[in-house]
Each structure stands twice: as C-alpha cells, then as structure tokens.
C-alpha cells in the first residue's frame, strides 16, 4: 500500500469514526431522555403507591378505633339491661322462699324490673343502630359501621399497594443504574471525540457503545419487573 492509498484509507476510517461517534452521541441523548422519563415515572408511581398504602393503613386503624365505641356501647348497654333482668329473676326466686308478706312486696318489683329489662335491650339496640338515612357524613358512617370484612379489604389494598411500590421502586433503581451507564457512555464518547479516530479513540468508542447497549438492556429489563 503506498502513502496515498494509506492516507485515503485513514481518511475513510476517520469519516466512519465520526459517523459512529455522531450516531452514538445522538443515541445517548435519546436514551438518556427516555430513561429519565422512565425513572421519573417509576418514582412517581412508587410514591403514589406508598401514599395509598399509608392512607389504607390510616383507614384500617381509624376504622378499628371508630367502630369500637359503638360496639362497646351496645355490648355494655345490653349487659346492663340483662343484669336488671337477672336481678329480677333472682329476686323472684328468692322471694318464693320468703314469707307471704315479703313475697307480696317483692314480686311486683321483680316483674317491673323484668319488663324494664326487655325494654332496655330494645332501647340499647335502637341507640346503637345506624339507619341508612342517618344524618352523618360518609366518612363518619364508614368508621362507625366498619366491620371485620371492611378492615380485611383495606388490609388487602394496603398490602397490594406496598407490593406495587416495591415493584416500581425496583424499576426506578434499574432506570437509575441505566442512566449512570449512559453517563459513563457519554463521557467515553466525549473522550473518543477528543482522542480522534486512532486506535485508542476507536477502542474508546467501542467501549462507549458497549456501555450504551448495556444501559439500553438494563433499562429494558426494568419492564420485566
């Protein structure tokens, strides 16, 4: 090969080097913007899932705290009403062992207590009811009427949201690592541009291309999570 031929070949290599450099720089820019969008979107989805998980946790604890007073009130009220009834029965039983005069005094009191006990149970039930047309706001209604099924449903939502946050967190981490690889690739591309189309420059360009390919692969793998 004479000098002219070698110079022409070198010039062609330089032109090819520049083309690859230009293509890779542009590709790095597009890859970076796509990965940034993916990283940002995954981060936001992760945060939203955490927000929803937090709100579901709040739902669970506020429903437990909000439904307990009504059920406690009902249980205590019925217990109190039954105590009155039991006392009436006990009075009547023991009055039968007493003399006739005491029996005549005690029986009417016991009868009154027994009827009162039955009415009291009805009153407690009425005061514990939450009718459909109750004038309370929807949030208070949800809390007061919450039962185990509602709390379990919230727990399922909470767990699902935490899982979702975990998934998007992993996706975000992969996107971040891919962005780091793009940054390394960009640095190597800049270095290759400075070095020029010699052997060292070409090796640097190849390494930059490999880093960019790795970034693309790693970024794409985030969608498999």
């Amino acid at each position: 090969m004479d000098v002219e031929t070698a110079a022409a070949g070198a010039s062609a290599r330089t032109a090819r080097f520049r083309r690859w450099l230009a293509v890779l720089v542009g590709t790095a820019a597009i890859t970076a913007s796509l990965l940034a969008a993916m990283e940002s979107d995954s981060g936001r989805r992760e945060e939203l899932a955490f927000v929803r998980a937090s709100r579901s946790s709040l739902d669970i604890f506020s429903k437990i705290a909000g439904s307990t007073p009504r059920t406690q009130f009902q249980a205590n009220g019925i217990r109190s009403a039954l105590e009155t009834g039991i006392e009436a029965t006990a009075r009547l039983i023991h009055a039968s062992d007493a003399d006739q005069e005491v029996f005549r005094l005690v029986v009417p009191v016991g009868s009154a207590q027994e009827r009162a006990s039955n009415r009291m149970v009805g009153v407690v039930r009425q005061m514990s009811r939450v009718p459909p047309d109750a004038p309370i706001d929807p949030v208070t209604r949800d809390l007061v009427t919450a039962d185990l099924a509602a709390i379990r449903a919230d727990l399922q939502v909470q767990n699902a949201q935490v899982d979702l946050a975990d998934r998007y967190g992993t996706r975000q981490e992969r996107a971040m690592f891919a962005i780091a690889l793009v940054a390394i690739s960009a640095v190597l591309l800049g270095l290759a541009g400075l070095i020029g189309g010699g052997r060292t420059g070409r090796v640097t360009l190849v390494v930059a291309a490999v880093a960019l390919l790795l970034a693309l692969g790693w970024g794409a793998s985030a969608f498999l999570v």
Partner: protein
C-alpha cells in the same frame, strides 16, 4: 503504538508502505454555526423542560402528602367525636333512659297492687325519676328534647352529626380529591419529561451533522422541527393538562 511514533518512522525510512498515517490532528468537518445553535437550543430546552417537570412533580408530591395530612385530620376528628358521643354522652343518656323505663314499669306495676306493695313501688319509681333527672341535667343528649325518641331512646346519630358539624372545616376535607389533584400534576410532570424526547432527537440530528456533513441542511432542518415539536408538546402539556 511504536509505528505511530516519529522515531519509528525514522528507523525505517526506505519502507514504501505505511499502515496508518497520523490522524489525530485531522480537523473536524466544517458544519457551520447553525448546528452549534441547534445543539445549544436543544440542550437548553431539554434542561428547561426538565426543570419545569421537576417543579410540577414537586407540587404533585406535596399534594399527595397533603392528602395524607387531610385524611389524618379528618379521621382523627371523626374518631374523637365517635368516641366522645358513644363513650361519654350516649352512655349517660342510656342510664337516663334505663332509669325512666324502670320508673314507668314500677308505676305501671303499682297500679296493679295496693297497700304496702303499691307504696313501695311508688317510692322506687320516685327514686328512679330522681336518678333520671339528676343524670339528664348533666347529659347533653338527655337534656335536649330534640334527641328524645318516642320509644324512650335517644337519637345518637343526630347527636353525632351535630357534634361533627361543630367543626365544619373537618367535614369539608376531601383527601380523595386532593390525591387525584396530585396524580393529575404528576401525570403532567411525566408528560413534560416525555416532551424532552423530541428535543433529544433534535440533538441527535445536530450530532449526526458531524458524521454526515453532506446532509447538514436536511439534518439541521429536521432538528429544528423536532425542537419545535418538543416545545409544542411541553406547552400543550403545561397548559392543557
């Protein structure tokens, strides 16, 4: 490496062939100021859109956090009202109702007997009335005839509603709507970030000019089109969504 060095070339001056002449100082092709401007504008626009997206994202994030705060405030107020009404007020009202029921039943029973039994029942009934009166004076529910029901019970739901209405700001809180607003802002932020993709394509066009100088005009024009696309996309996202 040795063959690139000048010393190596001097050592074999008679060699007719060389494999690789020096390339480091070959100047880059002249691409004109238009390309530099395109690259600079693309980079600046991408940075500006990115910054805008961050600001919107931050606002969306804050709105989501506000939704949690609103829910804490709302449920804490509701739970405290429920606790107070059922554990304090309704319990006392129930004692009043029980005393009144017992009083009524004792008086009813007193009508069926006479003599000492009747007097005893009336005394017991009077004691229950005293008890009910004393308790009701200290009970917000029992003292207010609005809450009294025909069966002798009290309207606890109405009392709860009245208690909740004392702080109307808590009833006006809408954490779900606040969360939706945060989501809307975050969607806008994501779309803004995606608006940088056409700008990055414009950057690609500008960079390609260095590799394909003959297509300079086409690439630069295409670059400006992509810059305009990115700008329009960002503007539409920022204004309409």
């Amino acid at each position: 490496m040795a063959k690139d060095e000048p010393g190596a070339e001097r050592a074999a001056p008679a060699r007719p062939e060389v494999e690789a002449p020096p390339q480091r100082h070959e100047p880059p092709p002249e691409v004109g100021g238009g390309v530099s401007l395109l690259l600079a504008v693309a980079a600046a626009l991408a940075a500006a859109i990115g910054g805008w997206s961050s600001i919107v994202q931050d606002a969306g994030s804050d709105t989501w956090h506000r939704a949690i705060r609103e829910q804490v405030k709302q449920t804490a107020g509701a739970v405290e009202d429920i606790r107070f009404v059922y554990n304090e007020e309704a319990t006392q009202a129930l004692q009043v109702a029980e005393a009144r029921i017992l009083e009524e039943e004792l008086r009813t029973e007193a009508e069926t007997v006479d003599g000492l039994a009747q007097r005893l029942l009336l005394v017991e009934a009077e004691a229950q009335r005293e008890l009910a009166d004393s308790l009701s004076s200290a009970s917000e529910i029992a003292a207010d005839p609005r809450y009294l029901q025909p069966d002798g019970s009290y309207d606890v739901m109405q009392r709860l509603a009245d208690n909740r209405a004392q702080i109307p700001e808590l009833l006006e809180l809408r954490p779900d709507a606040t969360e939706d607003e945060g989501s809307r802002l975050n969607v806008r932020s994501t779309l803004l970030t995606l608006s940088t993709v056409p700008v990055a394509v414009a950057f690609l066009c500008g960079a390609l000019v260095f590799g394909f100088p003959r297509r300079r005009r086409t690439l630069v024009n295409a670059g400006w089109v992509f810059v305009a696309l990115g700008l329009v996309a960002a503007a539409i996202t920022g204004v309409a969504i």
